[in-house]
């Protein structure tokens, strides 16, 4: 906030290159820094890469000791993630081996002496995640946009207090809010419903989207609207035809950040859903197999869950700073 508003006289003298920056020593320094940065990046990414590898391991490879870096990739983890299975008896296994109509997943599961009996809940939970994250994002961005516009353009009484109130809602710990929300939802029958979760995530994302969008709208010169108003547009028309098109970047960034927040959210989902509306995050840790944790399946689930977020991180890198500070800081 304060940092960005400072003038930068340095900018104007950049036509000359500083003599001390072309010598050999600075270049060696840069090279050393680059090498250290690359090494650190590799270390930072080891856990994620290891997860990706584990997702394609068979069970013996996943729990091999010492851990295996080289292995034969298989989709066993994904099959186990997406199916429910039962243990086969010796005779059944022999019988199944005779059959020629088995699909690839069936064969993979048979290797472990099991047969697929149906789909697991994971697909449905991912779908729940999508529905709840999608709907709550839409509503929070929609209402957030309206409020942000009003806060940005009009003289709202008690503006600073209201804005601070809105931001402070985001600071409340999920565990604290969830106790009374749990009671309230049980009273009105919203416990373990999609609507209840959408409502909750909308309200939590709303504070964030108001702040983020206000920052973006503040940057749109108000002269455009004023010109439109002079030309006979009404306020609403000016908002729709002038402000909205210019705020598209901001809306897109806010949408994706809100999506990630509700996509990643764990605590509320754990407390307030059980079966019907359960999202994916609370269910990933409970992917247990018959012989302890099926690490390949856990890793496969985690991977499926992470990939969209990693893609989004790259797509949003210019707006990342704003996003993770609730729009409080603008420079990126």
């Amino acid at each position: 906030m304060a940092a960005t508003s400072q003038p930068q006289p340095g900018y104007y003298v950049n036509y000359s290159t500083r003599v001390d920056k072309v010598g050999l020593r600075p270049r060696i320094n840069t090279a050393i820094r680059a090498i250290i940065a690359v090494i650190i990046t590799i270390i930072v990414l080891i856990p994620v890469v290891w997860l990706g590898m584990t997702a394609f391991k068979s069970r013996p490879d996943a729990v091999a000791s010492p851990p295996r870096v080289f292995f034969e990739p298989t989709i066993e983890g994904f099959v186990f993630l997406l199916t429910d299975r039962r243990q086969l008896s010796e005779s059944e296994i022999a019988e199944y081996r005779e059959r020629t109509d088995l699909s690839l997943p069936d064969q993979i599961v048979l290797e472990r002496g099991q047969a697929i009996i149906g789909q697991s809940d994971f697909g449905r939970q991912l779908l729940n995640s999508l529905i709840i994250a999608g709907a709550s994002t839409f509503f929070s961005v929609f209402f957030g946009l309206l409020s942000a516009y009003a806060f940005s353009r009009f003289d709202v009484p008690g503006k600073d207090d209201l804005l601070f109130f809105i931001l402070s809602q985001r600071m409340l710990p999920a565990v604290v809010v969830s106790i009374p929300v749990f009671l309230m939802y049980r009273e009105v029958g919203l416990h373990d419903t999609h609507f209840g979760m959408i409502l909750l995530y909308t309200s939590f994302n709303l504070s964030f989207s108001v702040w983020l969008l206000k920052g973006f709208i503040d940057e749109i010169p108000r002269e455009y609207e004023e010109a439109a108003l002079v030309d006979g547009y009404t306020r609403l028309q000016a908002f729709r035809k002038i402000v909205l098109p210019q705020a598209v970047t901001g809306i897109a960034a806010t949408t994706v950040f809100a999506l990630i927040f509700s996509w990643n959210e764990y605590a509320f989902a754990l407390f307030l859903t059980s079966n019907v509306a359960r999202t994916a995050p609370p269910s990933i840790p409970t992917r247990l197999g018959t012989g302890g944790i099926e690490w390949a399946a856990v890793a496969a689930g985690s991977l499926a869950f992470l990939i969209p977020v990693v893609i989004v991180t790259f797509a949003l890198r210019k707006h990342l700073l704003r996003g993770v500070t609730f729009g409080a800081i603008r420079k990126g």
């Binding site: 584990t54 409340l172 749990f182 709303l206 959210e265």
Partner: protein, 313 residues
């Protein structure tokens, strides 16, 4: 701020201009219409529940019992505050917050200094380092659990422990579990500090350094007198955000250790969860929730004060 006041003036001008009190009225209406849904939703979903749980915190009540709440006054609060166990959870949470946020600040600052000046490939490296903080904490906890595993995890071999019998059992020992949590937390959130420090660094005018090098100021002097004070406001914001998050810490620690071994890594939020959703002691858990809330508000206020001071000075 100045932008706001000029805007206000011009919008008033607009209203009093080309003959319409109607438009000004409609502006007010639009304002109300636009802000109302947000405020109503926040009040229904956040303020009302908070007031409700304030009431419950003074009662003896369990959501699974069929009896209505019984007013017990301050009993819940005195019971929590006089229980040594709770102070241990608070102490653990505090210790975790201080160590973790401290390390994140140092590591994040270091990373920012490292990628500060552009080199070939630095944008992509910066983005890659930022990946951890975008991930879901519970998923992060899962794959770190796999990495910490003493028999098939990859951390011990990487650190040079090849004998399973003598290698550390990261999540099975109270002290090591604490550091395991710190490692994961620092891994996940140092990038956040880096991001904010980078924003601060990019706003430092180059002429300050030029003036300093003309005066032959040492690099250390430049760092202490130019870099640090200029970055301080944003660094403090980073620390504020991370500290508040640390006091709220639930999912990462719950996923990694579940509070164990024993009670060794139980944060106050995990205890709160157990009290509310496993023991179903709703009255007492509401009281604990309020105590946590007060602590968080107190911590944020301390920081905001420091922040304002740093900005003025």
């Amino acid at each position: 701020m100045s932008q706001v006041s000029t805007g206000r003036a011009s919008s008033q001008q607009m209203g009093s201009g080309t003959g319409s009190a109607r438009r000004q009225l409609s502006d007010v209406r639009i304002t109300q219409l636009f802000i109302l849904p947000t405020i109503v939703l926040l009040i229904v979903m956040n303020i009302f529940p908070l007031i409700y749980s304030l009431f419950l915190s003074f009662t003896e009540y369990s959501v699974i019992a069929n009896t209505p709440p019984i007013w017990v006054g301050l009993d819940n609060y005195t019971r929590i505050l006089s229980d040594a166990q709770f102070w241990e959870y608070f102490a653990f949470t505090g210790r975790y917050a201080v160590v973790s946020v401290g390390l994140q600040t140092v590591v994040g600052f270091g990373l920012a200094m490292l990628v500060r000046n552009k080199f070939k490939g630095s944008p992509i490296i910066t983005t890659l380092i930022l990946v951890p903080m975008m991930l879901s904490p519970i998923v992060v906890a899962q794959f770190w659990k796999l990495i910490f595993n003493p028999s098939y995890g990859i951390l011990n071999p990487l650190l040079g422990f090849t004998n399973i019998n003598t290698s550390p059992e990261w999540l099975g020992d109270g002290v090591l579990a604490f550091w395991a949590i710190i490692i994961v937390d620092v891994w996940m959130w140092s990038p956040f500090v880096m991001l904010l420090v980078l924003a601060g660094l990019s706003a430092i005018p180059e002429y300050l350094y030029e003036a300093a090098s003309i005066d032959r100021a040492s690099p250390w002097f430049q760092f202490r007198r130019i870099t640090l004070p200029q970055v301080m406001p944003l660094l403090l914001i980073a620390v504020l955000f991370r500290t508040i998050e640390a006091f709220k810490q639930f999912d990462l620690v719950y996923g990694l250790t579940g509070g164990g071994p024993g009670d060794a890594t139980k944060t106050i939020a995990i205890r709160l969860y157990e009290l509310a959703f496993q023991d179903f002691n709703t009255g007492q858990s509401s009281a604990l929730a309020y105590i946590v809330l007060v602590v968080i508000i107190a911590v944020s206020n301390l920081y905001i004060r420091a922040l304002n001071k740093a900005r003025e000075g």
